[in-house]
């Protein structure tokens, strides 16, 4: 330090000490800066990665939230539909004939030409028409306005995912097919409404019809089973371990193993479920009940750990107060400690269930990646769950499933964010100050 330093440098023999402190101070400040820098860098990295993930999901997924539809005037030809057996009617021909009216120059009696034309319509269109007619047979002989999904390639074309400049040989749709579509488009029959089918349809081989209903219902049953089993068991185990169990080697051993259980890879639980629940007990394959049971095994350690932490966090003064007026041990626990610990327990449970919602591997092993085209009506029916549905779609070759996979991931993320938000809300709302 130069003599011109205006700072206080201490008097007499204290001067040396102050200099030492001052030198050390700079070093300490530098260390603190470095530490802060690392922290900010880490957070920045995490946010960047998260942003990239969400951006890529949205950029591919948003296409799946709309679906190209075509609106046709359909003459329900009585000749095609036998009145004694309505579902057996030639609905495909009815549709292609109706389509033919918009293309006067084409010859609908030529089967090849008719097939090319009707490829614009989704394969599910005839079933939509069939269901309408079966429900209301009086429509036969009338002309009705029908709005049906286009098949996937035309949907891609309409969304600009098929490049018209690509040479014909490398294109999904030939020039003729594109022309057909453009004809309908010029007539104003093509629209691109919100794809409600994404949430209200079950799975399908045809991307334009595939929806998440089956997966949502399956995930609901899985989570319900998981909650009903893991919540009481987890809380019971935690209360016993925390409040009643003697502190000895046995309880230490149990504690260590519960923590180990929380760290066991999920695929191991899946194998266990496959061998024990399905193999030994003969439970049904692909059933949400078995999935929920398996995930309950995984969620329970999370709930136990969260519950024990919340029970521990209840101040001892409350226990003493209750004991002091003569409450018995179980009254202390159930009338005072547990209610106070509840927000923490619920937070832990919701976070555990959110984990379970996103868990894929165990569900794959018990067969919840089956192709199922209707929603499960009970936890014992075959079903898929959200993460396994994503897995199935990601594996499908049709172009339309690419955006649907991203959309399904966004739906799953939406559920996870909602659950975590509820957990945070509960924690804030019921947090107590002592």
């Amino acid at each position: 330090m130069s003599d011109t330093t205006p700072e206080y440098r201490g008097a007499g023999h204290h001067g040396g000490t102050m200099d030492t402190v001052r030198k050390g101070l700079a070093k300490r400040k530098r260390k603190q800066m470095i530490l802060q820098g690392f922290g900010i860098a880490a957070i920045g990295f995490a946010l960047t990665v998260l942003f990239i993930l969400l951006a890529s999901l949205f950029s591919t997924g948003y296409q799946a939230f709309t679906q190209t539809h075509v609106e046709l005037d359909v003459f329900v030809d009585p000749q095609e539909i036998p009145e004694e057996n309505l579902p057996r009617g030639g609905f495909r021909d009815v549709l292609s004939d109706s389509l033919g009216q918009y293309f006067p120059e084409s010859d609908m009696t030529d089967r090849a030409e008719a097939r090319v034309l009707s490829s614009i319509l989704s394969n599910g269109a005839q079933f939509t028409l069939r269901d309408m007619i079966v429900e209301d047979p009086s429509l036969i002989g009338q002309t009705i306005s029908l709005k049906v999904a286009t098949s996937d390639p035309y949907d891609q074309l309409n969304k600009g995912l098929i490049d018209r400049d690509t040479p014909e040989d490398f294109r999904r749709l030939k020039d003729e097919e594109i022309q057909n579509f453009d004809t309908l488009s010029e007539l104003g029959l093509i629209s691109k409404p919100l794809n409600t089918g994404l949430l209200t349809n079950a799975d399908s081989r045809f991307p334009e019809l595939a929806g998440l209903k089956g997966a949502l219902v399956g995930s609901f049953w899985v989570l319900l089973t998981c909650f009903v089993i893991s919540f009481p068991l987890g809380i019971g185990a935690a209360i016993y371990l925390e409040e009643f169990a003697p502190k000895n080697k046995v309880s230490d051993f149990i504690e260590v193993n519960i923590n180990n259980l929380a760290a066991v890879p999920s695929v191991v639980f899946g194998l266990l479920a496959l061998a024990v629940f399905i193999g030994w007990f003969g439970m049904p394959r692909s059933a949400p009940f078995v999935g929920g049971l398996t995930l309950a095994l995984m969620t329970m350690p999370t709930i136990i750990i969260a519950t024990r932490a919340s029970l521990k966090a209840v101040p001892p003064s409350i226990r003493e107060a209750a004991l002091g007026v003569g409450a018995s041990k179980h009254q202390v626990v159930f009338q005072h400690v547990l209610p106070l610990a509840m927000p923490g327990i619920l937070t832990g449970t919701i976070i555990g269930l959110a984990q379970a919602l996103g868990e894929t591997a165990p569900l794959l092993l018990i067969g919840m990646n089956a192709f199922i085209t209707s929603a499960a009506s009970s936890p014992f029916d075959s079903a898929t769950a959200l993460p396994t549905q994503i897995f199935i779609w990601a594996d499908s070759p049709e172009r339309g499933f690419v955006s649907r996979t991203s959309a399904a991931i966004l739906v799953l993320l939406g559920f996870l964010i909602t659950m975590n938000a509820i957990a945070i809300f509960l924690r804030q709302r019921f947090q107590r100050k002592w």
């Binding site: 107060a321 004991l323 007026v325």
Partner: protein
């Protein structure tokens, strides 16, 4: 406001409420209370004083078996209330604690309404036959806790919303709601400001008419102000026990003298 201990009261002729003989307390390997003999008189305030870690709180907690809740704690010896051995196997600590109420260092009302705080003890012990009964019990307890006038209009308000001194008086009301005979107080004023302390001390002096009060305190002035008898603990030994007056003015033991004159502690 503070009655000086009345020297005319001859404590020896008063009824003995609690007798302790040869009490030893161990925390694991630590010998926390060494062979303590003491007779605590009925309807008087007895204070336990001594430096930190001398065992006064530990001994207090033997009197309602609160030490039972600590796994490593072991109590030996003979403690009797009204001649009954409280460590007898047939005695249920839950029942004992209804008879021996306790007030803690930090005011610890339940995070419930003021009413429910006081009503909790009577409820779990089944002291009230109906709601009207319970209302009477709660009001009486709150009056004894000298807090009725302050809270009678807001019995549904949370007990944790009161000031520190009010919380402590609520805790005293809660303790007396089960009609105990003995009231143990573990440094009841250490978390309170001087004004709240004065109110609680005044209350303690009133409680002496109905209860045997045992109070642990770090403040020698407080012991001198509120108690008739004083026991001085040091390193787990009961060094000296006698009239509060005598302990502070004419201690027999050298350690007591050094403590009350501020040279150890």
């Amino acid at each position: 406001m503070y009655d000086a201990p009345n020297p005319a009261t001859n404590v020896d002729q008063q009824d003995i409420k609690i007798t302790a003989k040869g009490v030893q307390v161990y925390y694991g390997e630590t010998h926390a209370i060494k062979d303590v003999d003491v007779n605590i008189v009925d309807r008087a305030v007895t204070s336990f004083i001594g430096p930190s870690g001398c065992g006064k709180s530990t001994f207090l907690r033997c009197l309602n078996r609160m030490n039972d809740t600590i796994d490593i704690c072991r109590v030996e010896g003979d403690i009797r209330i009204d001649g009954d051995d409280i460590y007898d196997k047939r005695v249920d600590p839950v029942q004992l604690r209804a008879k021996v109420g306790m007030v803690f260092q930090k005011p610890n009302p339940f995070p419930k309404s003021i009413y429910d705080n006081v009503a909790y003890g009577p409820r779990i012990h089944g002291l009230a036959k109906n709601k009207a009964d319970l209302d009477v019990i709660v009001e009486r307890a709150l009056r004894r806790g000298a807090i009725w006038d302050e809270v009678k209009d807001r019995l549904d308000a949370p007990g944790t919303g009161l000031s520190g001194g009010q919380q402590q008086r609520l805790c005293i009301a809660r303790a007396v709601a089960t009609e105990p005979e003995v009231l143990l107080m573990d440094e009841p004023c250490s978390a309170l400001d001087p004004i709240a302390t004065a109110q609680v001390e005044e209350l303690i002096d009133e409680l002496r008419r109905d209860y045997t009060v045992v109070i642990v305190t770090h403040s020698m002035q407080q012991a001198a102000r509120v108690s008739q008898k004083t026991a001085f603990f040091h390193l787990g030994d009961l060094v000296e026990y006698g009239e509060t007056d005598q302990i502070f003015t004419n201690p027999k033991d050298e350690r007591t003298e050094r403590y009350v004159t501020g040279r150890i502690g």
